[in-house]
Symmetry: C2
Subunit: 520 residues, 2 copies
């Protein structure tokens, strides 16, 4: 009987009426109140799913999972962050390019290893099979091969897409920005690599996000280390991805995974354990070049020599205070072939609150402040696209902007500072009624002179509401027209901060506004 | 027999070898040379599809159909255009927002009429059904309803996606930018509408694309006109879309479509024909308010009164020189409810060459210079998203940037002007060998002082190649280090344009570079 009510509700009955009917069967034999309560709860759930009381389908008003809108305040912060980053990229002489948001599906195939399952595909609506870009590096390599470009220094700021598990409070989204800077070309060793690190140093310093550290390692050192520690060739990748977890797991757990899950011998794991605990600078690279075991690997030695050379350039760039050679750094992506690096913020205080910690995520999460930039050398990727396999050596860095936005937003909220969302210099206002035409005449003069100006879209707004709008949106000046001012051919210029008012002749108004807002 | 060869080629045989085999059967009985030629042609086609001669699958190196990369030169032009447009939007006090590139599929459903078939859907990979945004207006309305915003003036510059027939030489792409400016809120009539037209006028004037005209009409005038001309209610939309073709077809053809295809009476069509040939300004609106037939429609009259009011504001904004009230303007989108407008360039000379004209497209195409901006009032769209149907009146304009990019690119190519793709102020160069370290020391000083500077990534580049790089990329200054300069604690500053060289003390170098590049 109750089940039947359910079916009827499903087939279109409005939830409210159904609930009433359920009440009316309360006295029927063989049905308990608890059963009815249960059915009512089900029906109410159903109602919530169906929508409003009018029974028609209600629209879900939301953005897609893992994505968000940016409101004007967030955009103002975003613009500030971009200006800093683009300013730095331009200071280093980079050009910029743009590529489409989707690529042929096969362009992305075989570039991301296991992560390929996170790629968004477009529906086959006839024509080509397309996927949303997963990063900016693969489209860049495709661009170089397609246009036969053998050297370029470019930046690219754009959104990328990953069907990952979103953690939006910590700045992890399915649609997010990447800010990439890459240097392609056959050059003398480690000069472009060092410049990438210099750029990370400049950007993180300028954004003022608190202290940070840039970890550096080299794929060849990792592979060499695995070889001399006795890791079988076919296990390099898999052991490497376990090492990559060292920033989230203690060594004991990492070792357990190596031995129990990946079948590595305990001795090999212990040898790796010794190496991956090492951190240092040029001195460490020198020491390892003398290390009996490590020096047996040619690959490791060329990696170590390059780390030495890299640090000598970093010294000239004056950034060694933040850079550390760290043998535990092992970035996931398949395409790296040489130096790799990752920047982390070390001041936990400025990081957004780790909301997941309460939801059963490991407690270590709250300690790890997460990477805000990463990159490395990928000398083989362009060759994968070139019909003749011609290689173009590349090195680059990607700034992870969403996490930085989160931090900046939290900072802005915490501080008393008001974020302006427009740049309006002056509001054209009126003291009396019926002055709309005069205001439009005046604002036309201002706009045509390049002054940023606003007027209310009302025929007769109150002066108070015009002034309030200025206070709220941080407009510094008000140009007030009244009968008297029109007669005298002046404008009353009000300085919002001080409430001071001065009469300025119409002829001088533009110059006066420019003078008073020139610092903006 | 030949068919069999085909099958074998399909199943993996390299095209080249297959062709050879086909030749070897040339003398077999019962097969003519012509047949063989035919099969060879098929096999060669197949080979081209399979790819290279090594038999392995060759990658198609291209961007998705209807999309393109922007190279650094195109990006420099794009940046300039955006700066002009954003500058204008900011001058008018707009904030900015951003929305995700995809929306829930149902957000877009029922908003675009027939054009809905052009929407890109994402593949169902589990989870929500998503589509790429088709314009920025519907996401804007969704944003307002979702955040219960009842008034805002915002701009949004982002890419939108349409599975349309691309015509890339004329700037019609499947992925393209829209630059939207919209005013939402309950305001006094026609003030925001007039500001939108002022903005189009400012932007097109500033971009210097040659002469233009902004056509204005009103949905209510169109509907009223159809009513008084005797169009049945259920044919308004369909007749409206035929009227929309008047910029591409002569009246005679439009009339034929109305009468023969859409079943309108000849008299009704002729009456429409009289109206849609009318163009004018405020005077025309006044005349039509007196028109015996037109004045019978209340709807038309309120549209005509608003056009009058609009023109009175446009006079104050000093833009009536370019704006024309044109009864033939009938924009396609369903959601417009009041004033509509469209800007067209009238100087055919600056338009990109209509490549399709040669490929069988109608010859009229080459006359029409196409719309570069359009918009109108849409008072009902936000209400479609609000759970309670609350309306937020909106009016806005969208600048069609791709066509403008095309024109600017053609102009840049035609002119002698060299488009710079970087902003580098100074190149740090060396006159002798083994000065890399000294150069890196100097460039660090420059970068840290905010100077845009470059150095070659070679240990010992030739001075000539360093100077050539400056010439090519428009770098105005070269800071040259040599043994003598290091000893004297000076830098030789070379002015690339004049080839003049002056010794500047290290202490004064930064100030000197700033002074010499301050106009940039």
């Amino acid at each position: 009987m109750l089940a039947m009510f359910c079916v009827r509700a499903c087939s279109g009955l409005a939830g409210f009426r159904t609930v009433t009917r359920v009440r009316s069967v309360h006295s029927l034999p063989g049905i308990t109140a608890a059963q009815i309560d249960e059915e009512v709860a089900k029906l109410l759930q159903l109602k919530a799913r169906i929508g409003g009381d009018d029974g028609k389908h209600q629209f879900v008003l939301k953005t897609a999972k893992g994505t968000r809108d940016y409101n004007p305040k967030q955009m103002a912060i975003r613009e500030r962050v971009f200006n800093t980053i683009i300013g730095c990229f331009k200071r280093h002489g980079a050009e910029t390019i743009d590529t489409p948001v989707f690529e042929l599906k096969e362009t992305l195939t075989g570039k991301y290893g296991e992560d390929s399952k996170l790629i968004y595909d477009l529906k086959d609506q006839g024509g080509e099979l397309l996927s949303l870009r997963y990063d900016l590096t693969v489209p860049f390599a495709r661009y170089l091969a397609m246009n036969k470009i053998t050297n370029i220094k470019r930046y690219h700021i754009a959104k990328v897409y990953r069907r990952d598990n979103p953690a939006m409070t910590r700045g992890r989204y399915r649609e997010f920005y990447q800010c990439d800077f890459d240097i392609a070309g056959q050059y003398d060793g480690m000069i472009p690599d060092a410049e990438c690190l210099k750029i990370v140093h400049e950007i993180l310093s300028e954004l003022d996000l608190g202290d940070f550290r840039i970890k550096v390692n080299d794929r060849r050192i990792l592979d060499g280390m695995f070889a001399v520690c006795g890791v079988p060739d076919d296990k390099f990748r898999s052991i490497c991805s376990t090492v990559d977890k060292l920033d989230k797991m203690p060594w004991e757990d990492v070792k357990k995974e190596m031995v129990n899950e990946k079948g590595l011998s305990e001795e090999a794991a212990d040898r790796i354990g010794e190496y991956v605990s090492l951190q240092g600078g040029m001195d460490l690279a020198e020491r390892l070049l003398q290390d009996q075991r490590m020096s047996r690997s040619k690959q490791a030695c060329s990696g170590l020599s390059d780390i030495k050379l890299l640090f000598s350039y970093l010294q000239l760039f004056q950034v060694t205070d933040k850079v550390v050679f760290d043998l535990s750094l092992a970035r996931g992506l398949d395409y790296y072939t040489g130096v790799i690096y990752e920047a982390v913020l070390t001041q936990a205080g400025v990081a957004p609150a780790p909301a997941e910690a309460q939801n059963g995520a490991p407690a270590e999460e709250s300690v790890s402040v997460g990477s805000v930039a990463g990159g490395g050398r990928y000398d083989g990727l362009v060759g994968m696209f070139d019909p003749k396999g011609r290689k173009v050596p590349c090195v680059g860095v990607s700034i992870g902007i969403e996490r930085i936005f989160s931090i900046m937003e939290h900072k802005a909220e915490a501080s008393a500072e008001k974020v302006r969302t427009t740049e309006v210099q002056v509001m054209v206002a009126s003291a009396q009624k019926n002055l709309l035409e005069e205001k439009l005449r005046l604002i036309t003069e201002l706009w045509d002179a390049g002054i940023k100006a606003e007027v209310m879209y009302k025929k007769n707004p109150k002066l108070l509401s015009q002034l309030q709008h200025c206070e709220e949106s941080g407009i510094p000046l008000v140009a007030i027209l009244g009968e008297q001012e029109l007669k005298d051919e002046v404008v009353k210029l009000r300085i919002v901060a001080t409430r001071e008012e001065v009469d300025i002749s119409r002829a001088d108004l533009i110059a006066e506004i420019r003078k008073r807002t020139s610092e903006a």
